[in-house]
Amino acid sequence: MRRIAIGVFLILGVWSVAHYSGIASSQMLPSPVEAIRRLGILLLSGKLNPDFLASGKRWAAGFFLGVLIGAPVGLAMGHSRWISTALDFPVDFLRSLPVTALFPVFLLAFGIQDASKIAMVASAVAFVMIVTASYGVRQAPRTRQQMAHVFGASSWRKFVDVVLPDAVGQMVSGMRVSLGTSLVVVVVAEMFIGSRFGLGTRLYDAYSINAVPDMYAVLVLIGVIGYLLNVAFLFFERHFVFWVGK
């Protein structure tokens, strides 16, 4: 807890110094007290509830869709040299394109409703999952697969009992890595594509109408959500995928 408190105070300290020293214009950077106070008001009034729920729904749908798409593709690429060779170029090409910069493509393809934002999140997550899943398969100790072979496991049992659990460890790590990315993408998608509700929408609205304390209040909330998601995932990893790295 003490280490967490040090980190929090470090951020607040630097922020305060930037505000009170005049390094940043007070119109551009309110004090942390003002931003947090404003966040408190927004949370207690319930005004951010629909935004939180809307972003949460989009994030969850996109995140898990990305996992569902990316994991099997990655497993296939890791398991089969033929598939890997065939897909290496398109995967590396597409994942090098910054997904947030492709928002016009998603907008044109999926419209301005949730589908475009969910698709953007899913794309960002899917490529991380493809890479981690295929890495998980390729980096799995060969001895385990040899052991299964020698002890008479069928190809299917080898995959399910040995290859998949090994890869799952890496994939879960990949999921944790893509937590932050997916949160960024959903916020940016809401900002650029637009929506009625969403934390990104609220952020962009606040920026557009110069409600700067509100803007920073939402930013703080997004940061806290990201941190808590990460903590939750670490807990999940430690308890359910405890063998990673062992």
């Binding site: 100790p141 001895t143 002890f151 008479g152 496991a153 049992r157 405890f242 063998w243 062992k246």
Partner: protein, 256 residues
Amino acid sequence: MITLRNLSKSYTTPEGGVCAVKGIDLTMRHGSITAIFGANGSGKSTLLGLLTGLLQPDAGTVEFAQERPRMGVVFQDFRNSLLPWLTLRSNILRPCVWQNQPLGAAEERLRKLLTVFTIDLPLDRHPHQVSGGQAQIACLLRALVIRPQVLVLDEPTSALDFTLQWQTVLQLQRLWTEEEITIVMVSHDPEQALLVADRIVVMGANPGRVVDLIEVPLPRPRSFATTSTSAFLELRDHVLSAFDGTQSQKANAAIG
């Protein structure tokens, strides 16, 4: 009976081709214990790989008297052969699942083996929670629980302390007596090898080949006391001499 005929296997490395084993001719009688002894790089693990079917030979054949036997294997890299997401118990019994053996009988067999080896193994822990020695014993039990016809052991006691090494080897001999398993084991300890084996195969490197075949006609059952008999010591000297010969050849080859 297992017959290796003119077995050869090479690998390609960045530096060029390496002949791991060449022209291996070897017969292992049914129910015998064959120990393989040799320096690093003499092709011992390659030979085991060819025997278990994990490697395919470039030339030669591995022949079994009848159909391919049920094999139990203890890998040199025993830690990585365990599945870290399973408990030791599940790891040990997993091959029975793969071979569709009834789990009840397998559990009973495991209980018996634990008694034979007088081991107190924390079966409900995961591999990363146990010592190297406990993990290696678990691998040995896994190889034995399926009632193998052939047992292939690659340095099966390397992680055990001195006492446990000898204890394990002696218990293995006892089990072998009861169950008529054909055992092929790689050992870096000539005395342990002599204690259990019917025959010692001394291998030399560059290329990996059989340098000497030493029969071990010591009476059974053998015990720790056997190691102080003159016959045992003579055989040990023979093994070491054969091993030294391979080292001299290696040194001469290096000097060119």
